[in-house]
């Protein structure tokens, strides 16, 4: 059986599944339940200065669902902890003492003054927690007060505060990043420049999930008004994967540990983040949807998959997919594929035909000998993959590469065996001259 013990920036845990800083890690009771259920670690819900903040007393969450009410995305306007600092610190100390093998990381958010950071870091150290996470991510509420995403959106602030943190503690410092920026590499590089030991991402995405058309206000609605929240859950996973990959493949940040966050719901999601370079993962929405027990599925599923692939330890597959993330300009333009419809599997719904006909390249025929029959017209097919994506039968439509030497009937050109990309393409005005 695969060994999934995790060492993230020097913080050890029995598995790579941590609970992210969020409502599930707000207090001792929840965290103890999580550890009993098998979670490898937690990032304690963000601590701030006293007097502690307050939350709204109306709804804090909004959501979007699939047709069977499967929760796909959650939006929240809850702020950082609304309990006294010392209460949290006492509980953290007790839980760490009782659960020494689990990772205990404490999320922090205080004003941008060094004295504030120095003070709270000292107090967290006394709990014997394993590390801290700087919350530069929350996009709602706290950002209006110059904290959270307001810091995370300014690389100079990130670097400055990270440096203060490093100068005032021996604990590993993880910097949590907001996705509400244009290029994730800048804030990540700033965290590294400030001496941060690792980054974690993504925090939630600024969002309005829905509008109540009766009261004409965004949801969740508090006395007729709403405020943007932070979006999370399965819906944000693609955004998070891309940002993780952007950092993982950035030469300047080679070796910087990344804790992957964003819609992780199953072992497979976790494996995908780690394949792209995340050293471990943090989970929140899945736990808030199904309870802590889902970690069992994540642990067993990850182990079974690793066994089936022959990976004995996490580091044997972490980052394996990173080198295969590249810029568009380096994609092989000589790789030609055509859609193929498996007639035995086709259920004759015609969705492939209508989307190709209406919105794409008119590359699928709908009749043959006067009968309903869907077949790809190679001379028109640009291999866009839309038919594969809309087909309800998995595996019915596939993209099949043309062999080198074959003629692409759409272009009339012979498929070249050698790799060729945009940088050397004759249509590229800035092409690199062939030597």
């Amino acid at each position: 059986m695969a060994d999934i013990r995790n060492d993230f920036a020097g913080i050890k845990s029995p598995n790579p599944f941590w609970l992210a800083s969020a409502p599930p890690t707000d207090k001792e009771y929840n965290v103890v339940r999580a550890f009993k259920a098998g979670w490898g670690g937690v990032v304690w819900k963000t601590l701030g200065l006293d007097p502690h903040i307050v939350n709204v007393n109306g709804p804090r969450y909004g959501a979007i669902w699939g047709a069977d009410r499967r929760l796909l995305g959650l939006n929240n306007i809850e702020l950082i902890t609304d309990r006294p600092l010392q209460t949290n610190l006492d509980e953290i100390k007790r839980v760490k003492r009782d659960w020494p093998d689990r990772a205990m990381v404490v999320s922090l958010m205080v004003p941008c003054e060094e004295v504030c950071w120095a003070d709270i870091l000292k107090r967290v150290e006394d709990t014997e927690a394993d590390g801290v996470e700087l919350n530069f991510g929350c996009p709602h509420g706290m950002s209006e007060r110059g904290m959270g995403a307001a810091v995370g959106q300014v690389p100079e602030y990130i670097e400055m505060v990270t440096r203060w943190a490093k100068q005032n503690t021996r604990m590993p410092v993880i910097v949590k990043l907001t996705p509400n920026i244009t290029d994730i590499r800048y804030p990540a590089r700033a965290a590294m420049a400030g001496g941060g030991d690792a980054v974690s991402l993504i925090n939630t995405v600024s969002s309005i999930t829905a509008v109540d058309l009766d009261v004409m206000a965004p949801e969740p609605t508090i006395d007729g008004k709403g405020s943007h929240g932070g979006y999370c859950g399965p819906a944000v996973k693609p955004i998070a994967l891309n940002m993780v990959a952007d950092i993982a493949r950035d030469a300047e940040m080679a070796g910087l540990p990344i804790s992957g966050i964003g819609g992780i719901t199953t072992w497979r999601d976790a494996a995908e983040f780690m394949a792209l370079g995340a050293g471990n993962v943090q989970v929140c929405t899945a736990a808030m949807t199904y309870g802590f027990k889902i970690v069992t599925e994540m642990i067993e599923g990850l182990k079974n998959w690793m066994d089936s692939k022959g990976y004995e330890r996490l580091d044997q597959f972490i980052g394996l997919a990173t080198p295969n993330v590249t810029d568009w300009q380096y994609l092989n333009l000589n790789y030609v594929t055509k859609a193929r419809i498996n007639q035995d599997m086709c259920i004759q719904c015609g969705r492939c035909y209508v989307v190709c006909e209406d919105t794409s390249h008119q590359a699928i025929a709908s009749t043959k000998d006067g009968k309903r029959h869907f077949e790809v017209i190679d001379a028109e097919c640009v291999a866009c993959n839309l038919c594969v994506n809309v087909c309800p039968v998995e595996g019915c439509i596939t993209m099949e590469p043309l062999a080198a030497g074959a003629v692409d009937t759409r272009t009339g050109k012979v498929v070249a065996a050698e790799y060729g990309n945009w940088t050397t393409h004759p249509n590229n005005p800035a092409k690199v001259a062939a030597e």
Partner: protein, 443 residues
Amino acid sequence: MARGFDGADIQAGRLPSAEYEANFADLHPPLSGHEALVAADRCYFCYDAPCVTACPTSIDIPMFIRQIATGNTAGSAKTIFDQNILGGMCARVCPTETLCEQACVREMAEGKPVEIGRLQRFATDHQMAAGTQPYTRATPTGKRAAVVGAGPAGLACAHRLALHGHDVVLYDAKPKPGGLNEYGIAAYKTVGDFAQAEADYILSIGGITLELGKALGREITLDGLRRDFDAVFLGMGLGGVNGLKIEGEELAVSDAVDFIAELRDTKDLSSLAIGRRVVVIGGGMTAVDAAVQSKLLGAEDVTIVYRRGQQDMNASLYEQDLAQTKGVKIKHWARPVRVIDDGARRGVEFEYTRQGAGGLEGTGETFVVEADMAFAAIGQTLEPGGLDIALDGGRIQVDDDYRTSLDGVWAGGDCVSRGDDLTVTAVAQGRDAAEAMHRALTA
């Protein structure tokens, strides 16, 4: 061997040969991969899920379904086998409509439960096809246990004992293992010799020696087993049959269990003779299995007669529907009085019944169901076999740890007082008895 009335219309080959295959095909065909994902997607992953509570073996149903949904089919099978090593058979024969699927919250919400039974089959079939068990035996303990009866209880007990490192000798009176899984369940519920494949799969854990054709009180004795082994488990089921105790019974009434066993043992079903008209007396699964299979063999008129009302039948509503869909007629509130074969009429005479103040009573009014064959399916009894052991209600008395009145002897399955004649309950008892035996053996 079921024989029916002398000189009655009883024939083999009533149907064209192709029809036999179609009639005895899988009742619930397996889910495809896509169907399994769609079915799994409907599970809500409930907290303290009612389906788990309803399962006699307490399988973590939401977990195994989630594992199917996430593509971890091997993990899903392990979740099932951890609780129920006969999960494959139970997926086929459990009356899920009165157990897990009845408890499913979506049954309450929409009258359409998650298809737990078929999903369980999907996962267990997958793992059994891989041919490997997700377990390795513990270090040998040097202890030896005898298990009597290779039915669901005995197989579950033997597997769990072997898992804990004990050496097991598993005895069965019949020439094949499986017990009622092999001999007592309608063929269309377990096609493709599944009972044998499952027994082979369970035995592949190692450490279990199978001794077939050895019956308690015949080739082996309880005294001998207690002398030769460190622990003994009795799981031989109920070998005896309740008779109707009516006039003329010997003329034509056969035991439905024997009929089902004979059918299961027949390779070419067109060689099996069946009456043109068949009457089955009883109200449980065995009655339905015998009646439906009579019909599938080509009987023209098949009638089940049960002494109480529809809601009292042990056969689930689903089973009753199945029988009626196959063309079986079910008559309630009548009990057999005598068997008639007077030249003019052959069949069974019944008296109408009603619920009286002192219990079930006859109304005095009678009718005759004409038949060429008659089957009794009114329950089985423990064959005493010279056992000097405490009984309770005619079955072996056991405590919460499945200990009998004899030192070093445990029991489970249909032969014990806590049995309820379900495969899945027998599995749970065999498993739990093995855990109790393990505790005693390692104390």
